[in-house]
Symmetry: C3
Subunit: 262 residues, 3 copies
């Protein structure tokens, strides 16, 4: 993992345009800000070219996608493609509703998505794997999860992050694991959304999307571990706030000390 | 009050679909999550059947309802009714604008609402009581507030929660009072929204909506009291975060020790 | 600066209607609440008259303005003008996209805006000053920033707040500086939005919009300074929460002790 990317991100403060869901935009924006990136959100299709001109990356989060917003999302992706900026797709609940799965598939077909970031259920749905029926669990079927991530990467010819207790970062022919974690991180609503946007920020400063995805996972997983050390059991509220403090103070050295990859 | 429902909720993690206002969705989702429930928000009318199939309850919050969202809200309620899942209505500011009152009344007429949760002004507006003119105040006119809640329950044939310094849980022929409280809870924007969604979560695990409403009120009022013990005067920000910690650690025993009902 | 306005605000709790962006409404609402004002958000054009009747001021924040919301924003401004309530305009990113600049200019042309609050880039864009090209920086070109604020005030015949490390409050013929600050405040997403709404709350209790803008800036800058004393370096998450605590406990005396103006 190229930890110098963190130093570069803090120095260059890349602008990340987010099509955010309406549940977690504040947490995502504060998290990006704390890390050193510059978040922008928009809901207006006619300003996407202006925004993507100054932006380094685009993150599309399907958390509360709806038909009325489709022209906006399409305009954002078109503007990103035109400006040659990477697009990160977070297919929230693609495994839960037909509309979300279909929307994610349409975006993957029409635009050059650089990185997909989802949980096991979401990535399995995109990979076309019957994840529920096989009863795979992030805690046990590690090998299977790596395969699901790689299958998804091969299907859509992009980098895929299947995040959870372990994060699997898959390219078409390789899978890297980030093993750091804390039970508190998944208990915070929007931690997955934030991971996607952090990965987006890193994809804005390197053309190597595999590296961008790896350090994005490393940054959030290690920040989570560091934060959980000073927070009591199950203190999910306090954890979510102190996580922002940790992100504001993060250095490559702090990550290096605890990072566990495979 | 059946405190075993808390243990059951933590074990079964019911999915609660929320039509949320755009001001407090993050606080409500984190609060539900901390308690042990699984929040989902949506803004797309064509995915409501998929969501209500996996959900245990639907909460409709009118905090930022608008005409553009009416098809979504109606689709959610239709899907809930079809799937036989309880609907909780939070008529935010029904006493303040004609549009919100009319929308609440239309929903109450067209759908089998299980529980209404509002403050005194909102419940009075639905009950058709001229609350402002009578100068009733949550601090004083306790008897009157109980009557307003019961009148509302009788009018709409459902359980009604009139929440405030004291919470009044009314069925058509009975009113239960939860007397626990703290001045810090109403100072947090969205504490009422969270109460409605917590009640919704409990209504997803018992058909006794009176019980669901009672324990919902007991859980939040007691969590508020517990949290306020360790927080300085008027520390509304710190309180809001530590409340999530308390909810994450709540047990029937902790509630039992301090619960005051009548 | 008339610090008695803080006491009056806490006593009268003015209702502030906010057309908020979807990223920071919770932070803004909690901040207004903590200060002692009563926030209301809406997304429905037919209830604007009902709301502006009970409101003391209207704040229009362009953070996620879009064409679908224009009828709502126009209805809000018409209702405010009709009810003779001050309108505060926050032209978020007016310097970044043509759509936002055009929308801000249309609002300034059609409605009697009382106060504009923006950062240097936004106010320069409205003033018609080529701010970027001149390379002005909030840290250095203090004289220039004061001129930009005054130029903007003269152009639109209203009070203008150009906020940053130093806040410049300009009328057509005078500029007041609030020199208090902390590096933590700008690191919190929505601190500018909150400043606009706090100024809005004060404009609801005095016809002297210059005074309203001054005390609004004084309140937030001093609350920021007070909060930063007890918060570690770069602890942006903890700062954002404790800022709400500070606002809940603020008094004219606490401000008086540290206020630095010119």
């Amino acid at each position: 993992m190229d930890l110098s990317l963190l130093t570069e991100l803090q120095a260059t403060q890349p602008v990340v345009v987010n099509y955010a869901n309406f549940v977690t935009p504040n947490f995502v924006a504060n998290g990006l800000n704390a890390l050193g990136a510059s978040p922008i959100m928009t809901q207006e299709a006619t300003e996407t070219e202006d925004l993507l001109r100054i932006a380094s990356a685009l993150v599309i989060n399907l958390g509360t996608i709806n038909q009325q917003h489709e022209p906006l999302v399409w305009a954002l992706c078109q503007s990103a493609a035109k400006a040659n900026k990477p697009i990160i797709l977070d297919p929230v609940a693609a495994g839960a509703t037909a509309y979300r799965l279909m929307t994610a598939l349409r975006l993957l077909k029409e635009f050059p998505i650089a990185i997909i970031r989802g949980n096991s259920g979401e990535i399995a749905a995109l990979a076309g794997v019957d994840w529920q029926a096989k009863g795979i669990d992030a805690g046990e079927g590690a090998g299977d999860l790596a395969n699901i991530a790689k299958t998804c990467a091969q299907k859509y010819h992009c980098t895929v992050v299947l995040s959870g207790e372990t994060d699997y970062i898959a390219t078409e022919d390789n899978v890297t694991l980030v093993l750091n974690n804390t039970t508190l991180l998944p208990a915070v609503v929007g931690s997955g959304d934030l991971l996607s946007s952090i990965i987006g920020a890193f994809s804005g400063i390197t053309d190597n999307y595999d590296e961008a995805a790896q350090i994005g996972c490393g940054v959030l997983a290690c920040a989570g571990e560091i934060t959980s050390e000073n927070v009591g059991d199950n203190a999910t509220g306090t954890f979510s706030i102190r996580l922002l403090d940790t992100l504001s103070r993060l250095t490559p050295d702090k990550i290096k000390k605890i990072l566990k990859t495979r």
